[in-house]
Amino acid sequence: MLLLGIVLSGFLLATVAPWLHRVLGRFAGVVIAMLPLGICVLLGTRAADIAAPGGAVVESFEWVPGMGVSLDFRLDGLGLLMAMLVSGIGAAIFIYAGGYLKGERQLGRLYAYLLMFMGSMLGVVLADNLLLLFVFWELTSVSSYLLIGYDHAKAKSRSSALQALLVTGLGGLAILAAALMLADVAGTMTISELAARSDVIHDSPLSLPIMLLLIFGACTKSAQFPFHFWLPNAMAAPTPVSAYLHSSTMVKAGIYLLARFSPVFAADVLWAPLLTWIGAATMFVGAWLAIRQSLLKPLLAYSTISALGAIVMSIGVGSTYAVEAGMVFLLSHAFYKGALFMAAGAIDHETGEKDVDKLGGLGRAMPLLFAATALAGASMAGILPFLGFTAKELTFKALLKSAAAGPEGIALVAVFTISAAFGVVVAARIGLSPFIGKVRPTPVKPHDPPLALMLGPALLAVLGLAAAIIPAVLAMPLVRPAASAILAAEANPDLSLWHGFNLALGLSVTALVVGALVYVMRRGVVGVTEPLQRVLNAIGPAKIYDWALSGVIATAKFQTRALQSGYLRQYVFVTISTTVITMGITLALRGGLGTLPKMGEVRTYEAALVGLILVGAVFTGFARNRLAAIAGLGLVGYGIAILFVLFGAPDLSLTQICIETLTVVLMVLVFYMLPDFRNISAGPQKIRDMIVAGAVGAVMASLVLLTGGLRSGRDVSEFYAANSLPEAHGRNIVNVILVDFRALDTLGEITVLIVAAAGVYALMKVTPARPKREQEGGAP
């Protein structure tokens, strides 16, 4: 029950969160934060259980066994790392949000969405069933949608929310498709069993599409190039949301997925190069774009993209070192980026200014925040002795190792060095520049933020330092099992801060120095990045998204205008053409000429009668005025009545005569109110219509001919004949059928009549009132 309870608790608390907010007011955030804190502690106590390689806490409950979906949860090293991040940072976020959005009307809903997100995210990282993972995966997308759109009155928020939802949603569908195929190929939905069947999967022709779909899905979620564009836009969300979902947790779901599946696909020749280069490209583009930004949150968003790329690259490289480095990077990034986001929010909150270039000298007014931000920034810059340094060092080591294998590795080292240097710039821009130098005027007079806003950033920043200094306590228990889980072998990362003077350290220092230089000459470098920005603006993925969206809508409009034109005759035409074509083709393909039954020669009066009816029909069809048409119709009706008499159906004949008379009377009464015929259809249209009408006639006629000879027996009518008098006490078999054998039909028939009468009556009597509130519908 532990894992299930952990996952469900978020959802359950979400349902009462708005109410809690109303009752507890400003303390609601702190109270709610107790849940993630508790989860984090609870998970921490289990760390020892899973420290051993292959160790895991496993739970399984039935849910929808018919579809192979069960509540399988599995807490292994990777899951633990992620779940502790989600819950731990979550606790900080709830406290922070309570302070940041104090007094907002809809804060209760925000708590609810955040809790829903937390539950879903925990579900993603703990699920051991492919479809269960997908369920939670989609829920993170939906909660992210609701959270990005928090400022729902702004058009920008809404469109950003939609963009994030569509991009990650599309990825989600890819994952669903991949999951279904994977389950089909591997014969199991259990994620932890997939690795053992990787050769089965590998041998399947579906292996490649599965892998590509998974990578696609993960890349959309983790904002990998070229699907990165939604992430900066998602910054429309309030800062607590950005800090939580869009830097430290949700965007890591894709990375989690790739890590989870790397034991399955590592053997594929495409897996490593694809991930490595997607990651490297993302890392580079993100870093490059980051230094162009001057607003706090976009700055952080692009650097997040860069960091996510770096982690994906590490997973792609896939060596023991690389995976270890990736996990350390993930941890350190969660710490410093969470802290920086919250700090940035605090700066904005306390000064009213978002632009880094317009901030300066805040250090004196807000020393505590400065301290926290500087610590986090230092970790991001990769300075000794912060966890960021350890991560960078390990990554360099891993890359250097693979660099020995060939020129590609050298390229990776170069890209990473540049990206790291740009990271230094971003770190300095946020961690340093707002606080030092000349004091600049801000909309609000700055002072240190209240405790609720300080707690989170300070805690995370300190963690970034502490984890590096005492890795055995704070980093090792998380990183080692995680790396082991990915590698499916025991990992043993070397988290010590000092490895002596070596090439990795040299590159680290180079990155710092280059970063410092770029920081100083920032304006020049921004000029150099201009072309890339211009290309991205013109034909970048964001542009393609816009085109796709407007293209789909334009197609939809065009298609719908063509099909749903509003012209009844077109609807009738399409419907009838479809009918006649379908029937005609079937008749041609499957019809086969049946034997025509012998029914005897036609007698003259019969031919004359049929001729008369046909004349009546044609007369109706081409009449120039309505009275003539009504007369023609009457001719058809009475003619058919005579036909019925000739072929032994007196009841039908009587009915037909009565009905026909009534119809003619009604037609005269009703059409009296309508205008006379006009010639409104164009000539070619008439010819087209005649062709269709003729085709229908031909098909129906041949159908009559073909089926006439099929009749196999008259069991049913023989039964009626035999039982009509003895059992049903009636001599008129037709009437007996109507009131006894098939009375239910007649019951329906009289019901239809009543409804028709009610309809006629209502239509004649009800005149539409002037549009009032209760009157609805109607044409615009």
Binding site: A607, L643, M673, R678, A693, S717, A722, E749, P780
Partner: protein, 117 residues
């Protein structure tokens, strides 16, 4: 020409004229088309239900079964039901059309496009 060829032509002709009228723009013609279509369908049942020059399915006084050959009573009952139903529908449709004419001000269905745009 055998009997069922003749009736096949009749059924085909009624369907064709019905469809042709349904494709006109005038709402009045539309109704007449539907009426012809109804006649066509009824005759179709009558014909394919086994058309014979036979006695009505009535049991004479003193008999217990109808004397052969008698027409199949079931299609007759079906057609009777169908005739009545199509009368009801037609009556409703006629009034609907006259109301729509009054609301829209024309009998040309090309003007009845308000609800699709």
């Amino acid at each position: 020409m055998t009997l069922n060829v003749l009736l096949a032509i009749l059924v085909g002709g009624l369907f064709a004229m019905g469809i042709y009228l349904m494709l006109r723009r005038s709402i009045v013609k539309l109704i007449m088309g539907l009426a012809l279509l109804g006649h066509g369908a009824n005759l179709l049942i009558f014909t394919s239900g086994g058309l014979v020059r036979a006695r009505a399915p009535l049991i004479e006084e003193g008999e217990t079964i109808p004397s052969a050959p008698f027409a199949d009573p079931l299609p007759q009952a079906l057609i009777l039901t169908a005739i009545v139903i199509s009368f009801g529908v037609l009556a409703f449709m006629m009034v609907l059309v006259s109301r729509a004419y009054r609301a829209v001000g024309t009998d040309d269905t090309d003007e009845f496009t308000g609800t699709d745009h």
